[in-house]
Amino acid sequence: MQDTRSDAEIVQAVLDGDANAFEALVLRYQKKVYNTVLRLAGDCAEAEDLSQEVFLKIFKGLSSFRGESSFSTYIYRVAANTAIDALRRREAPTVSLSTENEEGEEFELALPDAGPLPVEILESRERRQAIRAAIDALPEHHRAVIVLREMDGMSYQDIAQAMGLTEGTVKSRINRARGRLRQLLLEGNFFEERTTKETEKDAQAKKEVRQA
C-alpha cells in the first residue's frame, strides 16, 4: 500500500530511528532515480548499482539534510552527482555533438522547425527506444540538465544549484539539448518530417477550428 505520509514526515520517522520507513522513500523515488542514473550513466547494470549507491548516500546523509530544498530535489541532486562521478571515474568516451565556432564558443544549432514532431508515426516501443537512444547520444553536460528537467521535474534554479551553474547557463543548455534531441530524432529517421502540404493542411484545419 502506498505510504501517504509526506517526504518530510518519512524523513523524520527515519531520523527517529525507524529505518524501515526509508523504504517508503525508496519506493517513491526509485523509478526516477534509476532512470536518472541510467540516462546519465548509460548502462543498466551500472544504473542499478548506482541507484543503490544513491539511496545509501541519502540514508547516511539524512541527518544532515536541512530541508533547504525539497527532498525530491535533494534526491535528484545526489542521483545526478553520483552518476556524473561514476562517468568521470569510468572516463567513458561520450559522443560529442558540441557545436563550436572558430573561437571555440558554443552556438545554437539552427533547427528546421521548433514545432512538435508527429510521434504517432511510431509504435510506442520504438518511440521509447528512439528517445532513449537520442538522450544517450547527447553530450554529458546537456544530458544531465535535460534529464533533471524533463524526467525529474526540477526547476531551473534547483538544477543550477545542483550542478553549480548559473540559471542562465542551465536554461541555455536545456534549450540546446532540446534542439539537439529534435535534430537527432529527425536525422535518425525516428520521425518523419511533415511535408509542407501536410503542414498547410493542418494550419487550415486549425483556422477552421478557431473560426468555429
Binding site: G17, N20, F22, S51, Q52, A114, G115, P116, E150, A203
Partner: protein, 277 residues
Amino acid sequence: MTCEEVKRSMELPLEWHTSDELREMWRHIGLCEDCSRAFGWQFQLWWLMQDAMEEPPPGLAERIMIDVKAAQPDKVRSLPWWRRRKALAALAAALAIAVFSPVVMRAVQSGMASEQNVQQNVLQGQTQDSGVTGPVASSFLLSSPAEDTSDGGFSEDGGKGAEGTVLGLQQPGSFAQESENAAIAGNGGSDRTSPVAENDLFVGTQGAWRTYAAAKHMLVDWRAFLPTEFVKDPSQVTLVLYVTLPPENYIEHVENDAADCYVLEAVGGYALYLVQD
C-alpha cells in the same frame, strides 16, 4: 488558456502541473501556431521523456533496503571533535537537555545498579522511580515519561530550570542510574505487557558496564564508537546522552574543568560523551 498563461506555465517543470492544466496547455498549443512553434516541441519532449522512463529492475527496492539496514551502525560516525574542558559537565548536559530537549538518553555508568536488579526490573516489568520527566520526548520512549512522578533527575519544568538551577541533577552515578531506569522503564501505566518492547535494546553488560537503549532511537552500541584516541578506558565515560539538536546548540553550555565533552553524530541526533580525566 491564453498564450501568456501557456508561456508562464512552460517556465515551470511540466510535472508540476495537474493533468487538467496539461491538457489545456496542449490544447492551446495545438491550436495556436505561435505557441506551437515556441512550445510544441518542449511540451512534446517532456511527454516523450516521461514515457521513455524504464521500470527499475525487480527487487531493486529490496536490495536497497538490505544495504540500508546493513549500513545502519555506520550511521554513527565521528564528527570533528569538540574537546572541551568546561565546568560541571553533568550539570551542563542536563541544562542542555532541559533547554534543548527532546532528548533520548542511554546513559551508562560504571558501578551502577547490579545486573540482578536490572534484570529483575526487566523481568518483572517494574517501573522504578525515574528521574527522567518532562524534557524527554515521549515519542522516544515506549510510554510517556510524564507518567513518572519522581522528582529526581531532570526537572519537569524543562527550560525553566536552565538558568542556574541544579535541576535536581544528581551525581553522575545516580543520574546514570535514573537514565538507565528510564530506558528500561516507560512501562508504568502503559498498556505494554512487557517492559522490553520490540524496539527496546538491552545491550547487556560488560563487567560493571550496562548499556540500555531508550526505545528505538539508538540502535548501536556506543562503545563501538568511543573516541579511543582520547578515551583509553570505557570507565572514563561518565555518561552518554543522546540529543536531537546539533552540538553547536548546546556545546557552549558545557563548561567543565573536570571532564571533557565529545560529540558524535548518531542516529537521528548526536551522542554527547562526557569523559572524566
